[in-house]
Amino acid sequence: MEAMSIADFVKQVVMGKISVVQHTEQVLSEIDSTNPKFNHFNLIASELALQQAKEVEAEIKTGRHKGKLLGVPISVKDCICVKGVESRAGSKILSGYRPTFNATVIERVRAEGAIIVGKTLQDEFGFGTFCTNTGVDFPTPLNPLDKSRSCGGSSGGSAGFTALTEFTHAGIAESTGGSIACPAAFCGVVGFTPTYGRVSRYGLMDYANSLDKIGTMGKTVADASLLLEVISGHDSSDSTSLPEPVPNLGEGEGDARFKVGIVKELFEKSDESVRKECEKAVAQMEKLGASVKELSLPLNSEYGVAAYYLLSMSEASTNLAKFCGMRYGLHGKLEGSFNEYFSKVRSEGFGKEAKRRILLGTFARMSGFRDAYYLRAAKARTKLINEFKEVFKEVDVLVNPTMPVVAPKFSEIKKLSPMQHYAMDLCTVPANLAGLPHLSLTAGTAKKMPVGLMLTADHLQEQNLSSAALSLEGALK
């Protein structure tokens, strides 16, 4: 049975044909039975979800039921703060951290009647591409289409459960360098990452603040778009939040009549089977009315990954400094000096990749190396953004394979060196570094696994992305 779209589900709820409480119970029982096998959730918020469901149902009975997400089960990536619910960003060091406040996105979906069902698994603080860098004592989420393969990362649990569930569902996810698009592609769902600043980061536990973007995961373009519309918009609690009005994404119509640019280098650097599926999808777009041309992003393809990792690790190494076992999260036995104490807590609480990124990031910003690494990467970033700005004078939408491969097997991932691991982000990193909105949807299948096509638009052009993706999605069905 195919799950209903969010829009249809909400209509049924409003008409009283679906009981929100019963539906929530069913979803929770599904999670309870699937989670031991797939590990998509860090925490199942059964009590909170049922309480919210009862409140929503009571509200419906009083006739006050205008919410766009009335009774819709929403999962939340672990790095996003939910008041009173343990939020760990996938890290042992945040064990027991129950935020005293809700992230702005949580406030927004709650205001529309959504039900928060739990916190989804992720690479620790978002540090990974395959959800294999989960925190100390955390399991690895498995791909619902093939349990021997990765869900992708870092929003792996979010994409995995969105693909797995039989019920209407959407996920609030987060991307720093491709953490929404990658798992969406690997699990065969839609991942929508907005323009940097479109969605408030208040309540997001930082990986790299100048890159972090909260976005959405949906079974369809319409679902992902609707949820994005709800969480978007200016927030005075986040200084980097944009003031521009939010376009109507939820009720958008498909339209293919865009100027589409094929990013040559990113097609060339992808596996042949992946490339072929993406080319077929582009041909489909052309058939639907798009004008397609090939273009080149030489700087982004060459320097994107390096600039991204230098900046993101530099910022991450400062963000992670606050975790020292003093005010929240993991505590240790109080002994030794302050330095000895926090070093011990951090040694125990951080996983291997987190430690690697703290070391590399600290190195890149230390005096003596700062000019050569951190500052140079920041300068490169400006050049890379300008390269995008040039091509967007000619086209509306850029397309490239989301990932150069289909979801790899865990046995394959083990063989990757850290550098090969980082290089996998080649296609998603440029748009993320430039803060551009992008969307991944399934273009086809290769090796029986979904292949993701990534659409990128200029800053604040989410509406174009949504329209182009809706049209293509309809044609590919």
Binding site: I80, C81, S87, A89, L94, Y97, P99, T100, F101, A103, R201, Y202, G203, L204, M205, D206, A208, N209, S210, S236, S237, D238, S239, T240, S314, E315, S317, T318, A321, K322, F323, C324, M326, R327, Y328, G329, F338, N339, F342, T362, R365, M366, S367, G368, R370, Y374, A378
Partner: protein, 470 residues
């Protein structure tokens, strides 16, 4: 001696708490009674929280920069300075590194010498570490986050000062400017200084975290003597960081690391760059008050005051205002004397600020008018002023009620003198023998019996005449 003095080279980094209502990056108040009662997720550095810049702090920092004759950076941003310390809620401090608000300014000392200001930047104060039974005795350290996130401006000077006294004078001038601007409350806010001292040709020693102006002068005096002692012994002064002990007035070595610590500055990615437009800058510029040195100059020119009195009157913005209000109806010399000697004396003696004393200009003027017309003696005027400053009793009323008005006629005074002479023959005899003290004693007696309504000088004159006539 003077040669020795000139060998000393001092530079200062002053951290001034800005007198804003709320903190630099959140809405928490800057004052609180209970420890850890004025803090939220932002100043506690909870994961997920984000800073939002308090524009008032930027206004204040701009005022300070302008008053210190700095060039203003029209676009500036914030940076993260990362180091691990238990008073740091995030283990990084949001500060300014590459581009501060102001740079290349100066402040003029009372001698007229200009001290170069290298930069003025904004940063957040860390939390306060509390040791209940003193640093040495406490078995535990407690953290009070009420201070975490209070806005500071850091003012960095060039090494332009040549003596601890010059450093003190710099800080006096600086705090006067800050109070004129209304951005610093000397009683509530703290001034913390990192002070560098070297003897010409020697290594630089930094004394960290000195509280207050007196502390800086004492610490620098000690350091100058210590370093000269080292040189006298034929040794070289080590480059190091030292701490100042306020009780023993000495400094001790903290660390001797040669290079600057690696703070690994990055741009603060949670805040956007701050851009100033001309309109905004002009509005700040226009809001700047006349500062003390130009006010003092004006007082000399406009009211023919001597430089010293003009300096004292303009030192405190409130005093200058009261003075200018008063002289609309009272003689300039009388007002100047009354305010600088009597009023300031009473305030200083009772350690009261103008804010605390909360004086009404009309009441002060009323009292000065009585004085000017000769309706009250100086002694009784002072008594009324003390009553007013401490108990808010209206001076006019007080004088009225206590019958202190100088309504004594000539006969009453002469009668009082006659009585004093007759009742104190031994003193009269002493005076005749040439003991001046005896006359003061007699004057006192007359003052007593006339309730201070007559002026001491007049009594003295008349007493002398009376005794000499015997």
């Amino acid at each position: 001696m003077s040669e020795e003095k000139n060998d000393v080279i001092i530079g200062l980094e002053c951290h001034v708490q800005l007198d804003t209502d709320s903190k630099l990056f959140c809405g928490c108040p800057t004052t609180a009674e209970e420890p850890n009662s004025a803090c939220c997720e932002v100043c506690l550095g909870f994961p997920g929280s984000k800073p939002v810049l308090n524009k008032k702090a930027v206004d204040y920092a701009l005022k300070v920069s302008m008053a210190l004759n700095c060039e203003i950076n029209k676009e500036f941003f914030f940076s993260r300075k990362t180091y691990f310390y238990p008073d740091m809620s995030k283990n990084f401090q949001i500060t300014q590194y590459e581009v501060p608000v102001g740079k290349n300014g100066y402040l003029t000392l009372s001698s007229g010498k200009k001290i170069k200001i290298e930069r003025v930047h904004i940063e957040e104060d860390p939390a306060a570490l509390v040791h209940e039974s003193g640093l040495a005795m406490s078995r535990q350290t407690m953290v009070d986050y009420n201070r975490s996130g209070i806005p500071l401006v850091e003012i960095v000077t060039a090494p332009d000062m040549r003596s601890p006294q010059e450093a003190r004078d710099f800080l006096d001038q600086l705090t006067t400017v800050l109070q004129y601007l209304g951005v610093f409350d000397e009683r509530e806010g703290t001034l913390k200084v990192d002070s560098n001292l070297s003897i010409k040709g020697g290594e630089r020693v930094e004394v960290k975290n000195i509280t207050g102006k007196k502390g800086v002068e004492k610490a620098m005096s000690y350091e100058a003597v210590r370093q000269k002692g080292v040189i006298l012994k034929g040794e070289a002064v080590r480059r190091e960081t030292r701490a100042f002990n306020e009780k023993t007035l000495t400094t001790r070595s903290l660390r001797t690391k040669e290079t600057e610590e690696g703070y690994g500055y990055i741009f603060e990615p949670d805040l956007t760059a701050f851009e100033l437009d001309e309109k905004y800058l002009n509005s700040i510029k226009q809001s700047l008050p006349e500062l003390h040195d130009s006010k003092a100059k004006r007082f000399v020119q406009q009211y023919s005051l001597d430089g010293y009195t003009a300096g004292v009157l303009s030192r405190n913005p409130h005093l200058g205002n009261i003075f200018e209000q008063a002289i609309k109806s009272v003689d300039v010399a009388l007002a100047a004397k009354f305010l600088t000697r009597e009023l300031l004396g009473i305030l200083n003696y009772n350690s009261l600020s103008f804010e605390e004393a909360d004086l009404k200009v009309e009441e002060l003027v009323g009292l000065m008018q009585l004085l000017e017309k000769g309706e009250v003696s100086e002694k009784n005027a002072k008594q009324a002023l003390i009553k007013y400053v401490l108990e808010k009793a209206s001076p006019r009323k007080f004088i009225e009620e206590q019958g202190l008005k100088k309504d004594l006629d000539e006969t009453e005074l002469l009668n009082a003198i006659e009585a004093a002479v007759n009742e104190n023959r031994p003193a009269v005899a002493d005076f005749k023998k040439g003991e001046k003290k005896a006359l003061h004693f007699l004057v006192g007696k007359v003052m007593q019996s006339t309730k201070g309504k007559a002026d001491a000088r007049e009594i003295q004159k008349k007493l002398k005449e009376r005794i000499e006539a015997e």
